[in-house]
């Protein structure tokens, strides 16, 4: 992006990993890169916990009736799986790991706007995580991650604690979002206008809008739920004149936009990885940028599509269904733009690109199955069946996890200054793709055949598909563990990564691998478009002149 290549450590500054070693220095750091890494390992830990819970769930579902645990335990298991995966894994995953690590680098900034708030967000995350895990000691939570009233106000166990944990985790998410918006506005490198922002930044920015606007409503919803449990304030209790379905409005006003907190960052990663490995300018920069914002804003208008069968009125149902469909348009635009980016490029099938291609395929399925659910009459049949479970695993577990892995493999050399074993990582990627589809494709079929979700016991007729799904989950787990092991193994080598291993054009590749604490030896200046892959890039200023 800038003219000069800064060689690593030319001035003799140690990189951010080597400087000020020691646990205490890490725990008190305000360096966005270190915070990103601490998020990485925290989230990975919870992903493993959540994933093991998923394996346990799948094992229980191997046979009808009791296989390895009781109904009560099963209900606690899927609730904890859902809550951990959403609140502790996927919402922080890409923004807090890759966003924290890469966003200031991509902007050519020294840090995020509020570094100490950034560290606070990590601590808040840890507190929330500790609270969530502590519910295990309080007897577990058996409400499902959606906490629907009146079940959640009447059941025992650690519901209040889990709800407060989600409340606390909300703040962590708000802090991150707030930081990203302020950073994008105020800390861009000289010369970097809005349309020279790398698209990753646009994606993070749109995500942050949702984090800021929606998360507080989740906060107040959860507080109301706790109040209902402790004080019986009555708002969700039909016997006291309240309305249990009102809770669902409150919950989904946050949680639908929240699903775009999960996918927009994934799309943001795609917009970096695909041009880099196609060695070609991103196709339709503005369309992708505006689609991100459009998805973020439209996402606020459709929440009640989760409630089509909850006794909603005909009109309300029709309006919410109608609006839901509009989100498919910006999503479609993005998918086609990415494919067009690959068209006539020079496609290098390195590991991040493989993950990106897998993402495209899996997101196509995940997104299009959303249309079954957005359409009124088919949703009536499919609501709360395994079809929905499969839909959201395709978009959350599939798309987001693949994008996280793509981004991780993409920026890994930057993070740790080391290259991983390409062959092993490719095998892992293949296993994940096969395992993922083997796990979740059968779930579409059993769902449309009527298998309800959150069922510990099921009718014999569904067993074949449950068995297939369970076996798939083992392949998937094997792939994920292999991917993790490959990355970890690379850490035992000396640092061998060059500053720009993939020939990327964005600023982070001008910093060292790994970068120094303040990122750049010299503040970079934005002269070329971040996606100009020509042999002789044309400065933006000239390009604009010739356009007139």
């Amino acid at each position: 992006m800038a003219d000069a290549m800064t060689p690593t450590a030319a001035h003799g500054h140690p990189d951010y990993l080597s400087e000020n070693k020691g646990l205490w220095n890490w725990l008190t750091t305000v360096d966005h890169k270190r915070i990103g890494l601490m998020y990485l390992w925290s989230v990975t830990a919870f992903m493993i916990i959540g994933g093991l819970l998923a394996l346990v769930i799948r094992l229980e579902l191997l046979t009808p009736r009791q296989t390895i645990m009781s109904a009560e335990l099963y209900n606690r298991a899927f609730t904890l799986h859902g809550a951990i995966m959403t609140f502790l894994v996927i919402i922080p995953a890409i923004p807090a790991i890759l966003g924290n690590f890469a966003l200031p680098l991509l902007l050519g900034a020294k840090d995020v706007a509020f570094p100490r708030l950034n560290l606070a967000s990590l601590y808040v995350y840890w507190i929330g995580a500790a609270m969530a895990v502590s519910t295990l000691l309080l007897g577990g939570v058996d409400t499902g991650w959606t906490f629907y009233t009146p079940y959640s106000t009447t059941t025992g166990g650690g519901v209040s604690m889990m709800v407060l944990a989600a409340f606390v985790l909300g703040f962590s998410s708000i802090f991150t979002g707030l930081n990203f918006i302020a950073t994008t506005h105020k800390l861009r490198a000289p010369g970097m206008g809005w349309f020279q922002l790398p698209l990753f930044v646009w994606g993070m920015y749109s995500t942050a809008i949702i984090q800021i606007l929606a998360t507080p409503v989740l906060g107040i919803t959860l507080l109301l739920l706790v109040m209902e449990r402790v004080f019986h304030i009555g708002i969700f209790d039909p016997q006291l004149g309240g309305d249990p379905v009102l809770f669902q409005h409150f919950f989904w006003f946050y949680s639908h936009p929240a699903v775009y907190i999960m996918i927009l960052p994934a799309m943001a990663v795609m917009s970096e990885v695909i041009p880099t490995f196609s060695k070609k300018s991103i196709f339709g920069y503005k369309a992708i940028a505006f689609s991100s914002v459009a998805i973020a804003l439209l996402g606020f208008l459709v929440w009640a599509h989760h409630m089509f069968v909850a006794g909603m009125s005909l009109f309300a149902g029709a309006i919410f269904s109608f609006l839901t469909f509009f989100i498919a348009i910006p999503s479609a635009i993005k998918v086609f733009n990415w494919i067009a980016t690959m068209w006539r490029g020079s496609i290098d099938l390195k590991v991040p690109m493989l993950y990106a291609i897998n993402f495209l395929l899996i997101f196509t399925i995940g997104g299009l199955t959303g249309l079954f659910l957005a359409s009124l009459s088919t949703d009536v049949h499919l609501h709360d069946t395994y079809f929905v479970v499969s839909h959201f695993h395709y978009v959350m577990a599939g798309s987001n996890m693949l994008a996280l892995l793509a981004g991780l493999h993409y920026w890994w050399p930057k993070m740790y200054g080391r290259m991983y074993n390409n062959t092993l990582a490719t095998i892992a990627c293949t296993l994940i793709f096969i395992g993922f589809n083997a796990t979740f494709l059968p779930q579409f079929v059993m769902g449309s055949r009527g298998m309800p979700r959150r069922y510990y016991n099921y009718l014999e007729q569904f067993q074949t598909m449950h068995v297939a799904s369970t076996i798939g989950s083992w392949i998937l787990a094997a792939g994920l563990f292999l991917a993790l092991a490959t990355l970890l193994a690379s850490l035992r080598k000396p640092k061998d990564a060059v500053p720009n291993p993939w020939n990327g054009r964005t600023f982070e590749w001008e910093a060292g691998s790994p970068p120094i604490t303040h990122n750049f030896e010299h503040t970079p200046v934005c002269i070329y478009s971040p996606y100009d892959y020509r042999e002789h890039p044309v400065p933006i200023a000239e390009e604009e002149k010739s356009a007139h």
Binding site: W343, T378, V445, P452
Partner: protein, 313 residues
């Protein structure tokens, strides 16, 4: 391609499913198409433009407005089409025919209770006549449940403090599975029910003698069920205390005097008459307020009642 539909969806057994199935298959094919379309494009691109050397030169293409408009407008048309199709099916499922048979459904942890227009009730088994619209008026006694019949493609939440409705016309005779699809706790996955879509003959039998559950029940138990479910309990106690009506405890074989001064022995015939034609002899000291149960109790239920009263010694 019918095998594919039959693989994905349970066999349809109600009148309104055609719309849903058609749309379902349409979106299925759309998904399959786009999966292979996108996959094909990617595959082609990767085959054709795989990186040969690090100095590959690529064209500098930033956008193509015409193309981008095309691939925004086509999905827009497609989704609007889907919306209207889905909306049509939803409206059809929404508007209940006036002549529908009304059945009141109560969901509670973790059973379904059905109440027929004649006041008889059953647990987890619902009998409906074939080819007649049936309307379910549903409510819950505790948490939210959801009534789901895959073969009819219908589902609606069952909510405490409020009634919701659902209707269908069964077109396939036989037994259809009902699930609870709103998570409601420990017994959620066992909160199942069955809908028996009866041919006219079967339905006749059901109306006359009750469902299988009732037909198999010992008389005494059936009597107890009737006592609890048909409202006897609101006026008659079984522990000897006086209510709006005399207690039923230990009355069998007793002598009583009615308001007209005639005396009767309480035997099977007397009980039968008291139920079917209560005003024929009103027990002294009571108002003649007992309603007749003519037509509301089946013959076997009356026999059960007699046995039950006999047992209350």
């Amino acid at each position: 391609m019918n095998w594919f539909r039959d693989f994905l969806l349970p066999k349809s057994a109600a009148s309104n499913t055609g719309d849903v199935d058609g749309l379902f298959m349409f979106i299925t094919w759309l998904t399959v198409f786009f999966f292979f379309f996108n996959g094909g494009l990617i595959w082609y691109a990767v085959r054709k433009w795989r990186r040969r050397s690090n100095d590959d030169i690529t064209p500098h293409i930033t956008h193509d407005t015409k193309l981008e408009i095309i691939w925004s407008v086509i999905p827009l048309i497609v989704v609007m089409f889907i919306f209207f199709w889905g909306f049509r099916g939803y409206v059809r499922a929404w508007v209940v025919p006036n002549d529908a048979l009304e059945i009141v459904v109560t969901g509670k942890k973790w059973v379904w209770e059905f109440e027929y227009p004649d006041g008889s009730r059953s647990l987890n088994d619902l009998h409906v006549p074939l080819n007649k619209p049936v309307k379910l008026v549903m409510h819950s006694e505790d948490v939210i449940h959801s009534f789901f019949v895959p073969a009819f493609r219908i589902k609606r939440d069952v909510i405490p403090g409020r009634y919701t409705e659902l209707w269908f016309t069964a077109t396939e005779p036989g037994v259809h599975q009902v699930y609870c699809t709103e998570y409601c706790g420990k017994g959620h996955s066992d909160m199942l029910a069955r809908i028996f879509a009866d041919t006219p003959e079967q339905y006749e039998v059901f109306l006359r003698e009750g469902d299988e559950q009732v037909r198999k029940m010992p008389l005494k138990e059936l009597g107890k069920l009737v006592y609890e479910n048909k409202g006897c309990a609101t006026c008659h106690s079984i522990d000897g205390t006086r209510g709006q009506g005399p207690s039923l405890k230990a009355i069998y074989g007793q002598q009583i005097t009615d308001a007209a001064g005639k005396s009767h022995t309480i035997d099977a015939n007397y009980i039968r008459e008291s139920i079917l034609n209560p005003q024929a002899s009103v027990v002294a000291g009571y108002e003649p307020i007992m309603p007749t149960f003519q037509g509301l109790l089946r013959e076997r239920e009356i026999l059960g009642m007699i046995e039950y009263i006999k047992s209350l010694q």
